[in-house]
């Protein structure tokens, strides 16, 4: 636990001391401002927007996880650039375990911000237990984002390209709610099931199936990425 805390504090220092990353830490507050102030104002001014509020909330739901994912993928790529990653290869710690518990804090933060956003949004009364479950599952986008970008990129330039690609993939299933006829075709992307979970929740339906599919799907992807990351990150 002590070690976990030490690594988490170090990661926070690395992020906080990097001006280009520090700015991202205010993004959760920005999401809340949009959901609490800007969106209600927009709905009031243009009632037609109300129809799209669930989609805006779906988009907002993945913002914190992708943001924390981005921050951590930059930290990982920086470790590769400076070769610090090699040092983790020769310390007495399980490599896979280390990768998992290193991503625990950003996952928890991302889940909390998502939870807070769904709790404070002024549009729907949603059951707390379902919000918690959905936030927990959506938080899994953080490790997926961080690890996939880090695994596929050799440097920061490649990292930025991969981040854009993965971010597009994460957001793409929102299209399913504009073209419901082909909606389930987006089911090959885990975030589709997260979005569907929120959509079902707003419609007062059970979220059990989408939540389970999203969870299982995300865990399989994370397991594959952790395995790959543990192989490539700690070597040259």
């Amino acid at each position: 636990m002590n070690q976990l805390l030490k690594v988490a504090i170090t990661d926070f220092k690395l992020v906080f001391r990097d001006p280009s990353l520090r700015i991202f830490l205010v993004l959760p507050a920005l999401i809340l401002v949009v959901i609490l102030i800007a969106l209600p104002a927009l709905v009031e001014a243009y009632p037609v927007v109300e129809e799209y509020v669930p989609i805006v909330l779906m988009g907002g739901m993945t913002q914190a996880p992708t943001m924390f994912g981005f921050i951590y993928c930059v930290v990982f790529i920086d470790e590769k650039d400076t070769q610090v990653a090699k040092m983790y290869g020769v310390v007495p710690v399980s490599k896979k375990g280390f990768v998992v518990y290193r991503l625990l804090f950003p996952f928890v933060f991302a889940s909390l911000v998502t939870w807070l956003m769904l709790v404070v949004q002024p549009f729907y009364e949603l059951p707390m237990a379902s919000i918690a479950l959905l936030s927990f599952i959506t938080g899994l986008v953080t490790p997926i984002m961080a690890l996939s970008v880090a695994v596929f990129s050799k440097n920061k330039m490649e990292g930025m390209t991969w981040y854009k690609i993965i971010n597009l993939l994460v957001t793409l299933p929102l299209a399913a709610f504009f073209i419901p006829k082909f909606g389930e075709a987006f089911g090959i992307i885990p975030t589709y099931w997260m979005f569907k979970g929120l959509n079902d929740l707003i419609a007062s339906s059970s979220i059990l199936v989408p939540a389970l599919v999203a969870f299982a799907f995300s865990i399989v992807i994370i397991a594959v990425l952790v395995r790959r990351h543990a192989i490539v990150h700690f070597r040259d």
Partner: protein, 283 residues
Amino acid sequence: MIEVNNLSFTYPKAKAPTLKGLNFSIAKGEIFGFLGPSGAGKSTAQKVLYKILPGYSGDINIDGKPLANWGKEYFEQIGVGFELPNHYLKLTGKENLELFASFYPKENMRNLPELFELVGLEDAINQKVSDYSKGMKMRLNFIRAIMHNPSILFFDEPTSGLDPANAFKIKELINELKAQGKTIFITTHNMDTADQLCDRVSFIVDGEIRITEEPAVLKHQHGEHKVVAESKTGQVKEFEIEQLGSNSSFLEFIKNNELESINSKDATLEQVFMNVTGKALKI
């Protein structure tokens, strides 16, 4: 104690093996060196030994136990000084070391401020590593490798990037570690480092060990068996070492001249390397 038999390794996607059947052993309290040009396989051999490269063939035993059977406790026993500085630049020197210290049992840890003092970094302990020079970062590499008091040490080009005074200090510290009974494996292309530090060296070229011997023996074997005497007046003469005590011209020379120096005409380690491998020690 490290024992390596018939070690071969091929990088994934490479056509030819990087290491071709290496055999060597390193005793407790010994400094052993791999001397060879860049790309010879020196660092690869170390990486296999510190378990960062799996998929090798051959037998490696560490303290009598196969390397593959060692779990993560192996990393408590070893310290690695990488060839290039690798630290978090936005953290201070102390923060860097404290982070990695958190992975080791507390009872093994050496006092961090004392370690900084040991390599002359005491004034930079709370300075961000981005403000360190390359030499300072290399010294930080060195103390990070030894901070948990490991019994086996791997140093890849330990004096690279250091000025002569700091290189001397690091060599002194490595000798102190040897005196404490540590097993030390060094790779270098720097013949002076190998000559001054190593009890035995292996010349490695194209993934093969060409010879393993004590540097002094190699220099003697490949040198001319002569002494060179120089007088204060600048007169230089060579004499065969054999029967030197009864060599009348030598005795006459030292009787009639005030001597500046007498040296045996040993080869340098670089000359031996070229004789044995047919290659120069290029970086």
